[in-house]
Amino acid sequence: MSRTIKGQSGEWEIVIGMEVHAQVLSNSKLFSGASTEFGAEPNSQVSFVDAGMPGMLPVINEKCVEQAVRTGLGLKAKINRRSVFDRKNYFYPDLPSGYQISQFKDPIVGEGEVTIDLKDGTSILVGIERLHLEQDAGKSLHDQSPDNSFVDLNRSGIALMEIVTKPHMRSSEEAAAFLKKLRAIVRYLGTCDGNMDEGSMRADVNVSVCRPGGYEEFRKTGSFKSLGTRCEIKNVNSLRFIAQAVEYEARRQVEILEEGGSIRQETRLFDSKLGETRSMRSKEEAHDYRYFPDPDLLPLELEQDWIDAIAASLPELPDEKRARFIAQGLSPYDASVLVSERELADFYEELAQGVDAKAAANWLNNEILGRLNRDGLAITQVPVPAAANNAIIRMVADGSINGKIAKDLLDIVWSEGGHPRAVVEARGMKQVTDTGAIDAAIEKVIAANPAKVEEVKAKPKLAAWFVGQVMKETGGKANPAAVNAALKTRLNLPDEG
């Protein structure tokens, strides 16, 4: 994906910023003791506080505060020791109190950054503006009845982290890569499960276009005047849709501008069926949220040693793990793929114990991921544990079995279970390296194919056919390199250059 798109009149640059809402992993809600579990019966996980009943008051959940700080540290961001909760006032049926408790002027986390690794091997830094805590709203169902909408408040009050980026993304690839990386980071940290299909992570994507040079000007001066008017695409809930939405929206804006029109700053929705963005009717009037500090709460104050304890407890994050894998011999690209999911990285580490890193990575990429994909399984559901796979790799490394047998072995234990070493023993799959056995097999094939023997003397490349036959004769267990060498000697074939 290039960083510019071609319009009728020339090139255009795309500029993208994002606001990601990530549901905090916690047992109970941000300001009430109701459960946060997904998929419960309607209105069964609602405290009177969440329902905005008369006289109800918020009390903050310490775990949610911890998760926000943990995430901030994972984003290499400044943790603000003092932050304030504000009320954002507006009317909507899924907002029972008529206001959302959020953070406006003084968020819990300040500026940070995220590194994203692109397919071409380059990396870019996406700046984070801030992260704040706020309440999620309930859910409205509009298609259950012709005249009414139904409101379920189970989600009302669940803690959200709103992560706001700076407008540092320049293409749909970068936008998707950023969200993927952010998702990996929060999953590594255990602060959000990142399940976009369940709605635990959603992105509002801001897109604008400008003539080449405009973005550079913006980065230099910080003035938004150098950028185009942006439109916000709300609630994009998959990585694929992000890329599509950005592509469509950028094109839409370029077309308008090239026809001499101007972009109206507005909020839009992405229609995944049509692959288009369209204007949101209900957001026509500008909202006056009348933010003011919530008088039912006091400012949130954090002790430095409490923050330090969280910092000390952080797991190794994707960037550090990636650097370590590269140092162990993997390519930057392979390393990036492996760290994109913590479970995958953990699997790989166990897999690579005591074997060549590259061999382990190749095994994982070529054999395991393919089979998982075929069977519609996630890495966490792999039927052959890492340790067992590690055994297979070791057996290839020490010559017990050859590469082809190794794949067959994997197929067997994948569908039937059992430990690889035991299976190899039981089925006699050990590689044949005994030169006597190989010579015997070669004699057999030569004896059965006199015509071919003559042919190969004229066309040495046909030796491959012989190798194949000898492999068959040994039930596939011979060491191919040893067969090749013995065959050359026996048939007096020249060495290949």
Binding site: N27, S35, S47, F150, V151, L269, L297
Partner: protein, 95 residues
């Protein structure tokens, strides 16, 4: 600050309060009386004075992350107008 009936109409909209057309002008008058009176606060020099963000000199209390509430849809719905099978009902909303 002074409000006219258009402003009252706009504020009433923000507050989702139906004020009959005939009441707009009188309401503007009542509000203006009050706003004129609070103007006197402008006389005070508040430079460098922090706002009173908390009346109590205490740190925000934290709650342990345990499920202690909910699971009582019946009690929740008991006072609901309309309401169907544990959903709150409202006129159709078009997004």
């Amino acid at each position: 600050m002074s409000v006219d009936k258009d402003t009252v109409r706009r504020i009433a909209k923000l507050a989702r309060l139906a004020v009959p057309e005939a009441r707009l002008e009188p309401m503007a008058g009542e509000l203006n009386g009050i706003f004129k009176w609070v103007e006197m606060l402008g006389q005070v020099n508040v430079e460098g004075v922090p706002g009173m963000t908390s009346v109590v000199a205490q740190k925000l209390k934290w709650r342990k992350d345990v499920v202690t509430e909910g699971g009582n849809a019946d009690a929740l719905m008991a006072n609901a107008p309309g309401g169907e099978e544990h959903f709150f009902t409202v006129p159709k909303v078009v997004e």
